[in-house]
C-alpha cells in the first residue's frame, strides 16, 4: 500500500476506473453497492461481496470501494485489515481450514496443523510457494459436537485426524 500511495492519486484512480470498466466483476460489485444505496455503513457487506467475487482484496479493489462509497482509503484499509475474515493476499487453489476452537484443540486439532506444516512446509495462515494450498485456522466454526472439524474447500468434515487431513490434501495435490 505504501508504495502505491506515492503515485499521484488522480492518475491512479483514472487507470483503475478504466481497468474496472472492462471487468464484469467490478460491475457486479457496483450493483451490490447500489443495492445498499452506497451507504457508508454497508462497507463490511461490500467488502464481503468483493472478496467473494475476487477471492481476496487487493489494493486497487479497496481504492475502488473507497471511491464509490466516498470513504477515505485509510478507513477502508483499516476495516479490511481489522477483520480476520478479509484476505489481502491471493489464496492458494485449495484451502484447508482447521478449526482451533477449544473443543477441537482439546481433541488434538494442533496435531493436525503440525502434521500438515511438517509435510507441506506451510505454516498456519500461509500459502505454499506453488500457490496450491492455503493452510488456515478458524477461531471456532461451532461444530464442537463433531470435533476436531476441518473445512476442505468449504466442506466441513467431522472427526478429523492428521492422517485423514494429509490424505485429503494429497488427493488435491496429485494431478
Amino acid at each position: 500500500m505504501n508504495a502505491s500511495v506515492a503515485k499521484p492519486h488522480k492518475k491512479r484512480m483514472q487507470a483503475l476506473l478504466d481497468h474496472a470498466s472492462g471487468d464484469k466483476r467490478f460491475k457486479i460489485l457496483e450493483v451490490h453497492m447500489k443495492k445498499h444505496q452506497f451507504r457508508q455503513d454497508a462497507l463490511i457487506e461490500v467488502l464481503h461481496k468483493a472478496q467473494e467475487l475476487f477471492g481476496y482484496l487487493e489494493d486497487d479493489l479497496l481504492l475502488f470501494v473507497s471511491t464509490k462509497l466516498k470513504l477515505p482509503p485509510s478507513r477502508v484499509y483499516g476495516v479490511a485489515t481489522f477483520y480476520h475474515f478479509f484476505q489481502l493476499k491471493p489464496q492458494g487453489r485449495h484451502a484447508c481450514v482447521v478449526c482451533m476452537g477449544t473443543a477441537c484443540y482439546v481433541k488434538g486439532a494442533d496435531k493436525i496443523i503440525d502434521a500438515i506444516t511438517q509435510k507441506h512446509k506451510v505454516r498456519a495462515g500461509e500459502t505454499t510457494a506453488d500457490n496450491q494450498l492455503s493452510l488456515l485456522t478458524a477461531r471456532c466454526i461451532g461444530a464442537c459436537g463433531i470435533a476436531p472439524a476441518v473445512v476442505y474447500d468449504g466442506t466441513v468434515t467431522p472427526r478429523a485426524t492428521p492422517e485423514t487431513a494429509l490424505a485429503q490434501i494429497n488427493q488435491w495435490l496429485t494431478p
Partner: protein, 547 residues
C-alpha cells in the same frame, strides 16, 4: 394477517400432517456428515415403498446429540437412529411397518434427553426451520399477536421485569431492566440488535438456535421492539455460520411475506423490520459497543461506557442489545406467562440455560436444563462422563473469559452467582470437559494466545498486557521460568483485569487465574530454580561477587 389467518395456517398445517413423521437433522453438525444425502434417500425410499400418504420426511433443526450424527427420529415409533448413512434409508423405511432396522439406535429416553427441560430448544429438532408454517403450527407468533393486541409497551416491560430473565450472553444483566431503560430513553428512532456473534470457542448454542428455530428469535425481537418503541432491528451474525445466515434470510423473507415483519403487523400501527449484518471474524465484536461500531461499518473497537447503548447506541440512538438465546426465550415467556417462567430455576437465576457440551466427554451436543442444576448432573449423568473410563479433571465454562471448575467442585449448582464465586462465569454456555490427559498450563496459554490475537489494540493494558502474559505463560510451559516469572504473571493478571477498557481485556486473565487457583501445582512443577535467589520482593538479587 390477523389472528384468524394464523389459526387457519396452523389448522391447515395440522391437517396435512401424515401419521408417521421421520425427522432428519439438518443442522450444521449433521450436515457435515451428509444428512442432506440421508434425507434425499429417505424421501426416495418412501416413494419407492409407495408410502407418500403415510410418511412425511421432515428436515428439522438440531436434535441435540451432535456426536452421533446424522440423527433420524421416527414418530410415533419413538426410535432415534444414530450415525445414519444414505444407504441405511431403505432399512429405516422397512422398519416402520414393524421389525427392527439394521441401523444403530440410541434410547430417546436416556438421561441425556429425559433430564432436559426445553424452552429455547422446544422447537429445535421438531419444526422445519425453513418453513414458517411449521413454526406457526407450533403456536409461533401467537405471543406477538397477544402482546400487540392486549398489552401496552409498559405492561410488556413490566412482565419482563417480573419473569426475572437475565441476559444469556454471559454477564447476566436483568433483561427487564435493560428493556425499561431503552423504553424510557427519549428519541424518535430506536434500534433493537440481536447479538449473534457467538465468538467463544467451544460454544455453539446460538448457532443451533438460529439454524433450528430462527423465527423464535425474530418473534422475540419484534416483541422487544414493541416494548421499547423501536422500528428497526439488526441481527449481527458471524460469517463462520453460513447455514445460520441462510436460514435467517429465508425466515425474514417468509415473515415479511406474511406481514409478520414490516409495516402494520397484525393490523396494528406497529412496524418492525429486521436486517442482517454479517460479521467478519473479530471476537471483540461480541462486546456491545464494538458490535455497534461494526454494524456501522467501522472497525469493531469498543468505547468507554457511559453513555450506555440504552441511551446512545447505534448511530447515536437508544439501542437495545440482547443475545440470541435471550430473544429466543421471549415468545414462550409471553405465551405461558411471567409467573410460569419465574417458577423455573433458582432465586436469582430464572429459567433455563442451554449448554454446548464438548471436549473429552461421551455425549457431546446441546442440552437445556433449569438454572441451578448441579454441574455433576450435567457432565456425569447426562453427558455420560469422560470417554474410555477416564476421569474428569475440570470443566471449562465461559470460553476465553471464563475459568476452569475442578472436579472437586462439580457439585456446584450452575447459576450466575455460584460460577462467579469459583472465579469462572456462566458465559454464553460453552462447557468444555477436560480429562486427566489435559495440561492446564497449556490450556491457559491457549486462551491467552486467543485473547492476544483478538485484542483490538485500542487500550494499552489489553494490547500489551496480553502479549506479555502470553510470553510468561510460554516461558512457564517451556520450563524456562522461575518463581519470579510466576509472580510477575499474577501481578500482570491483576493489572490487566482492573485497567482494561472492555470485557475482553478485563476477563482475559480469568483462565490463567482460575487454573492458577486450582492447579497451581502444575505451574510450579514446571518452574526452574532461581539461580540468583530473591529478596522476597520479587526483585532480582544482583550476582554480586563476594570474594
Amino acid at each position: 394477517m390477523i389472528l384468524n389467518d394464523l389459526i387457519q395456517i396452523k389448522e391447515k398445517e395440522m391437517a396435512a400432517r401424515k401419521p408417521i413423521v421421520l425427522r432428519c437433522c439438518m443442522a450444521a453438525g449433521c450436515m457435515s456428515s451428509d444428512s442432506k444425502g440421508v434425507k434425499e434417500q429417505l424421501e426416495k425410499a418412501v416413494a419407492d415403498a409407495g408410502l407418500q400418504n403415510e410418511v412425511e420426511v421432515r428436515g428439522v433443526g438440531c436434535m441435540k446429540l451432535c456426536c452421533e450424527g446424522p440423527l433420524v427420529a421416527a414418530d410415533p415409533q419413538d426410535a432415534l437412529y444414530v450415525r445414519v448413512t444414505a444407504a441405511n434409508a431403505p432399512s429405516i423405511i422397512a422398519a416402520l411397518e414393524g421389525g427392527r432396522a439394521e441401523v444403530a439406535q440410541t434410547d430417546p429416553n436416556a438421561p441425556f434427553f429425559a433430564k432436559q427441560f426445553s424452552i429455547v430448544l422446544a422447537n429445535s429438532g421438531v419444526v422445519d426451520p425453513e418453513r414458517i408454517e411449521s413454526y406457526i403450527a407450533a403456536d409461533g407468533y401467537l405471543a406477538l399477536h397477544e402482546v400487540l393486541n392486549e398489552m401496552t409497551p409498559k405492561e410488556v416491560v413490566e412482565a419482563m421485569v417480573k419473569c426475572g430473565l437475565r441476559g444469556r450472553g454471559g454477564a447476566g444483566f436483568p433483561t427487564g431492566l435493560k428493556w425499561g431503560t431503552v423504553a424510557k430513553s427519549p428519541g424518535a428512532k430506536k434500534y433493537v440488535i440481536c447479538n449473534a456473534d457467538e465468538g467463544d470457542p467451544g460454544a455453539f448454542m446460538d448457532r443451533s438456535v438460529l439454524e433450528s428455530d430462527p423465527h423464535s428469535v425474530l418473534e422475540g425481537m419484534a416483541i422487544a421492539a414493541y416494548a421499547v418503541g423501536a422500528d428497526q432491528g439488526f441481527i449481527y451474525v458471524r460469517a463462520e455460520y453460513p447455514l445460520a445466515i441462510a436460514r435467517l434470510q429465508i425466515a425474514i423473507k417468509q415473515a415479511k411475506q406474511m406481514s409478520l415483519l414490516g409495516a402494520g403487523i397484525f393490523e396494528s400501527p406497529f412496524s418492525f423490520n429486521v436486517d442482517l449484518r454479517i460479521g467478519a471474524g473479530a471476537f471483540v465484536c461480541g462486546e456491545e459497543t464494538a458490535l455497534m461500531s461494526s454494524v456501522e461499518g467501522k472497525r469493531g473497537t469498543p468505547r468507554p461506557r457511559p453513555p450506555f447503548p440504552a441511551e446512545s447506541g447505534l448511530f447515536g440512538c437508544p439501542t437495545l442489545l440482547n443475545n440470541v438465546e435471550t430473544f429466543a426465550n421471549v415468545p414462550t415467556i409471553y405465551r405461558k406467562g411471567a409467573d410460569w417462567f419465574a417458577a423455573i430455576g433458582t432465586e436469582k437465576s430464572k429459567g433455563t440455560k442451554v449448554f454446548a457440551l464438548a471436549g473429552k466427554i461421551k455425549n457431546t451436543g446441546l442440552l437445556e436444563v433449569p438454572m441451578g442444576t448441579p454441574m455433576r448432573k450435567i457432565v456425569e449423568e447426562m453427558g455420560g462422563g469422560a470417554p474410555d473410563g477416564g476421569a474428569i479433571k475440570a470443566v471449562q465454562t465461559g470460553g476465553p473469559s471464563g475459568g476452569c471448575i475442578p472436579a472437586q467442585h462439580l457439585d456446584t449448582p450452575v447459576d450466575y452467582e455460584s460460577l462467579g464465586k469459583l472465579g469462572s462465569i456462566m458465559g454464553s454456555g460453552g462447557m468444555i470437559v477436560m480429562d486427566d490427559s489435559t495440561n492446564m498450563v497449556e490450556i491457559a496459554r491457549f486462551f491467552m494466545e486467543f485473547c492476544m490475537d483478538e485484542s483490538c489494540g485500542k487500550c494499552i493494558p489489553c494490547r500489551a498486557g496480553t502479549v506479555q502474559m502470553h510470553h510468561l505463560l510460554d516461558k512457564i510451559a517451556n520450563r524456562q521460568a522461575t518463581a519470579r516469572d510466576l509472580k510477575k504473571l499474577e501481578e500482570l493478571c491483576d493489572l490487566v483485569r482492573n485497567t482494561s477498557l472492555c470485557g475482553l481485556g478485563q476477563t482475559a486473565p480469568n483462565p490463567t487465574l482460575s487454573t492458577l487457583r486450582f492447579f497451581r501445582n502444575e505451574y510450579e512443577a514446571l518452574l526452574q530454580p532461581d539461580l540468583y535467589g530473591s529478596h522476597g520482593n520479587g526483585e532480582a538479587k544482583p550476582p554480586t561477587a563476594t570474594t
